[in-house]
């Protein structure tokens, strides 16, 4: 426990304290609580609970093997957990940046039962030791140092004492970095430097944002007025808040000179300046120099007064026209509201999501040699690597092998297999529902879905209770309203487009987005609740972003599909192209308006073509592999779709699917036992292709392989989660952060399926 214990001697009080507090275990699961649930057979009881953030956890539980990047992030989390802390590895012996585990158990069902007492023992006996050492993984230390250098200058603001003193040497280090807080071309003014980040570190919040516009060579210049800017902003919100009361004097006094100080100094000094040379020399003297005198900025260069408008000229404007700073944040691999392992990098404008990109460097999928040499073992292998949907993958591999060998006439699913598949669908949806409920913030939904999940996993599920639960969810107050973010009002949208077409073209490309956003905002206002409009202008149920270029589903109807789908993803980037499109679409809109009335809320062209599964069905696209299966058709089964392409429709589709599965299972009867998988023999000289599709709970999974002389030559697995990653930007653009996270959670992406 040397990396997990507190440093000190164990005396009586500490021992008592350790013993009493070890009864309360707060677990931080890596990669996520959803994977932890797969290995449990009953809900976690009173002995342990899950942590929201690392700082309140005392047990770090790693489940299964992690890729290198994930292990590094797990090490970061471990470093953030206050001591005393216990590291538990379930599965691997040792994961490189993390230290050696305090408790190690093999990865099997119910491993938590052995882990908890062991962790408790660790905590109660070893919470304080003398041999405790700091945990210093190399990579982490290097990254942290790089990060600290980037942060650079936070000055010592004397009157405030708000920041610890920073040494100006930081400035030097700062030079070469790209603070990609905003990557706006308009900041090109400073040779690719991003002042914004720099500015943050400088002042905290500032009205001096114009630094970006001026090459920020002299930190000295900033410093002078920073003090003032900093003082007042530091004291809380700028919006007429109480705190501002006590800073009024500062505020007023600085108002005038802040900007001027900046302007004088920065302006003249920098056009075409080379920072690096300038940098260090200037800082010290400027700092001293400018401390007291704001009014002339301490530099003699620079000319007159610059208005706020001119100062913030080159900043990107947000939707409502204000130049504000955007932050880069990551909703990382280990977030309680997202599927475990999914990492989103977001650019936030305040709390609106501007850009959201999912990380694709998940674990690589390399087939081990044992499988390449023995393709017949593929079903078991796939079942093992996908603990969340084992049955689907096993059936998929079996189907593919059957197709390959041609031994059986067709590789359709038999009834017992279909029943298994449907049972897994229920279980998977319940697990997803638990994660979704955490994102939503409804504890009841989460607890109930966990309860049902475990019951169905054990086979003791009660379908009546589950149906009751499902209908109660559908009737939950406010849920539909909350999840309908991004649902746009149809006819009003058209207005906006017409009015906005002209101004948009006149502005620069970066304002395109701004305008788009604003008009959506307006419409959004007009009745959130009544989403469905009778006289729809055709399929406008969109999330805002779809507008950018793609709002007009008319396009799809009129055959602009291809055009649209690419636009979808690019969002802001295709400004110019979008502009042109925009006008065309508008005209289309109006002309097609009447015709589309029937297709309201169906937005087929909005999602990329590869999207399958409940997400596609929630947008009205009827893609379901089960339509091709005879056993389903026999039972009179139809895919459940919904319209609207919002989180609510995805929730509804999954709830409906659960009910369908329940009915299917009930109809098919439970009298069939689980068929032992037929072993398919691969002759050693076998050659051929095997292709199969199956409808897993998340979408259609396709397996293609080529066997050459009895060994796997070519292997390709297409999973639905990969396609869903492309949808993320579209689904989250311009939504508020909470709605964006809810939307991403509603997609049900499984990071383990991404290769």
């Amino acid at each position: 426990m040397k990396y997990g214990a507190r440093k000190g001697k164990m005396n009586f009080w500490r021992r008592w304290l350790a013993k009493v507090t070890s009864r309360e275990l707060v677990i931080f699961p890596i990669p996520g609580a959803d994977l932890l649930r797969v290995y449990q057979s009953e809900p976690m009881n009173r002995e342990a609970r899950l942590a929201e953030s690392p700082k309140e956890a005392n047990v770090l539980l790693v489940i299964g093997d992690l890729s290198v990047e994930m292990a590094e992030r797990a090490a970061t989390i471990y470093a953030q957990i206050p001591r005393p802390r216990v590291l538990v590895l379930a599965g691997p012996d040792h994961l490189s940046p993390l230290p050696h585990p305090d408790v190690h158990v093999p990865l099997e069902k119910d491993f938590l039962e052995t882990v908890l007492p062991a962790a408790r023992e660790c905590l109660s006996s070893y919470s304080w030791t003398e041999e405790a050492e700091p945990f210093r993984p190399e990579k982490l230390v290097k990254e942290i140092e790089a990060a600290t250098q980037e942060q650079g200058h936070m000055h010592d603001h004397h009157g405030h004492g708000a920041h610890e003193g920073h040494d100006h040497s930081d400035h030097g280090a700062h030079e070469g970095h790209d603070h990609s807080a905003h990557n706006h071309s308009d900041h090109g003014a400073h040779e690719g430097h991003d002042h914004s980040a720099h500015n943050h570190s400088d002042h905290g919040a500032h009205e001096g944002h114009d630094h970006s516009a001026h090459k920020h060579t002299d930190h000295g210049a900033h410093e002078g007025h920073d003090h003032s800017a900093h003082k007042h902003t530091d004291h809380g919100a700028h919006e007429g808040h109480d705190h501002s009361a006590h800073n009024h004097s500062d505020h007023g006094a600085h108002e005038g000179h802040d900007h001027s100080a900046h302007n004088h100094s920065d302006h003249g000094a920098h056009e075409g300046h080379d920072h690096s040379s300038h940098h260090h020399e200037k800082t010290e003297e400027d700092h001293a120099h400018l401390h007291g005198e704001h009014s002339n900025g301490g530099h003699d260069h620079g000319s007159g007064f610059m208005s706020m408008k001119a100062m913030t000229k080159d900043l990107t404007r947000s939707a409502d026209g204000l130049p504000m700073e955007w932050s880069d944040v990551q909703f990382g691999p280990f977030h309680p509201g997202l599927p475990g392992g999914l990492r989103l990098s977001m650019k936030l404008d305040g709390d609106t999501v501007v850009k959201a990109v999912a990380d694709r460097d998940q674990q690589g999928f390399n087939l081990p040699a044992s499988i390449t040499n023995n393709p017949a073992a593929l079903p078991e292998y796939l079942e093992a690597v996908n603990p969340e949907a084992p049955v689907s993958y096993r059936l998929l591999a079996q189907k593919a092998l059957v197709n390959f060998s041609g031994a059986v006439a067709d590789s359709a699913l038999t009834i017992p297999e279909a029943v298994q598949l449907e049972k897994e669908r229920i279980i998977s949806h319940l697990n997803w529902l638990a994660v979704f409920a955490t994102t939503l913030g409804s504890d009841w939904m989460r607890d109930q879905s966990i309860k049902h999940y475990h019951r169905f996993q054990n086979g003791t599920g009660n379908s009546n209770q589950l149906s009751g639960f499902i209908s109660r969810i559908k009737k939950m107050p406010y849920l539909k309203l909350k999840l309908s973010a991004g649902h746009q009002n149809l006819e009003v949208k058209n207005h906006s487009h017409s009015t906005h077409s002209t101004p948009e073209h006149s502005q620069g490309s970066h304002d395109h987005s701004a305008h788009k956003i604003s008009d959506h905002g307006e419409h959004q206002n007009h009745e959130h609740s009544s989403h469905q409009h009778g006289k729809a202008e055709g399929g406008h149920t969109h999330s805002h972003e779809s507008h950018e270029h793609s709002t007009h589903h008319h396009e799809t109807h009129s055959g602009h599909t291809e055009h649209k789908s690419e636009d979808n993803h690019q969002g802001h980037e295709n400004h110019h192209q979008g502009h042109g499109e925009h006008i065309n679409h508008e005209t289309h809109n109006h002309s097609h308006g009447i015709n589309e009335a029937k297709d309201q809320d169906v937005v087929p062209g909005q999602l990329p073509n590869e999207t399958t599964g409940p997400v596609a069905r929630a947008a009205g696209i009827e893609k379901d592999q089960r339509l091709e299966e005879y056993v389903y058709e026999q039972n009179g089964w139809k895919p459940s779709t919904a319209s609207g392409n919002t989180a609510w429709s995805r929730l509804k589709v999954r709830l409906d699917e659960m009910e369908q599965s329940l009915r299917f299972i009930a109809k098919a009867g439970d009298k069939f036992e689980v068929d032992p998988s037929q072993k398919i023999d691969i002759p050693s000289k076998g050659m051929g292709n095997g292709i199969a599709h199956i409808e897993s709970p998340r979408g259609i999974v396709t397996l293609k392989f080529h066997i050459h002389e009895g060994k796997l030559a070519h292997f390709q697995l297409t999973t639905p989660s990969e396609a869903l990653l492309d949808v993320i930007q579209q689904v989250t653009a311009k939504l508020e952060l909470a709605d964006a996270l809810t939307a991403v959670a509603s997609l049900d992406i499984s990071p383990r399926e991404i290769h």
Binding site: R6, K7, G8, W13, R14, S53, P54, K55, R73, A75, T76, I77, A79, Q80, P82, R83, W128, A132, P134, F135, R136, L140, V141, I144, A146, A147, E150, Q151, M154, H179, A181, S196, H200, H203, G204, A205, E207, H209, E239, G240, S318, D320, L322, M324, E325, W326, S327, V329, Q330, G332, P333, F334, H335, R343, D349, G350, D351, G521, N525, E736
Partner: protein, 120 residues
């Protein structure tokens, strides 16, 4: 008690709370120092190193509401004493304040129709 005494007492309670809290910190410190490690003081960002400080010119979207709040808050400052003497003064009080409230209410309606009451 004289109101002044009461307020002084309240202020004293605030100071006493601060004192209690300070004692709590002392007790906590006696249980051991924090071991300094890299990464420990990085704010939580689900496993990522939060490189940049979070202080920036944050774009809040509710300034429309905030402005209206200011106006209404001033109104409420007037309503407190009015409420105390309301029953005494009777109908006149209702009418007087009614007019005031109505004007502000119309302001609210105006903001509503001008799309100020939405996420900017």
């Amino acid at each position: 008690m004289v109101p002044l005494t009461q307020y002084i007492l309240l202020f004293g309670m605030l100071l006493a709370t601060a004192g209690l809290v300070w004692m709590l910190y002392l007790i906590k410190q006696s249980l051991g120092q924090t071991l300094d490690e890299p990464g420990k003081d990085i704010p939580a960002e689900s496993g990522n190193l939060a490189a940049k400080p979070a202080w920036l010119r944050y774009h809040i979207h509710y300034y429309g509401y905030a402005l209206l709040f200011l106006a209404f808050d001033m109104e409420m400052a007037f309503m407190y004493p009015w409420a105390v003497v309301y029953k005494q003064v009777g109908l006149l009080a209702l009418l007087d304040m009614g007019v005031f409230l109505m004007i502000l209410f119309l302001g609210l309606i105006y903001t509503w129709t001008q799309l100020g009451l939405k996420r900017q």
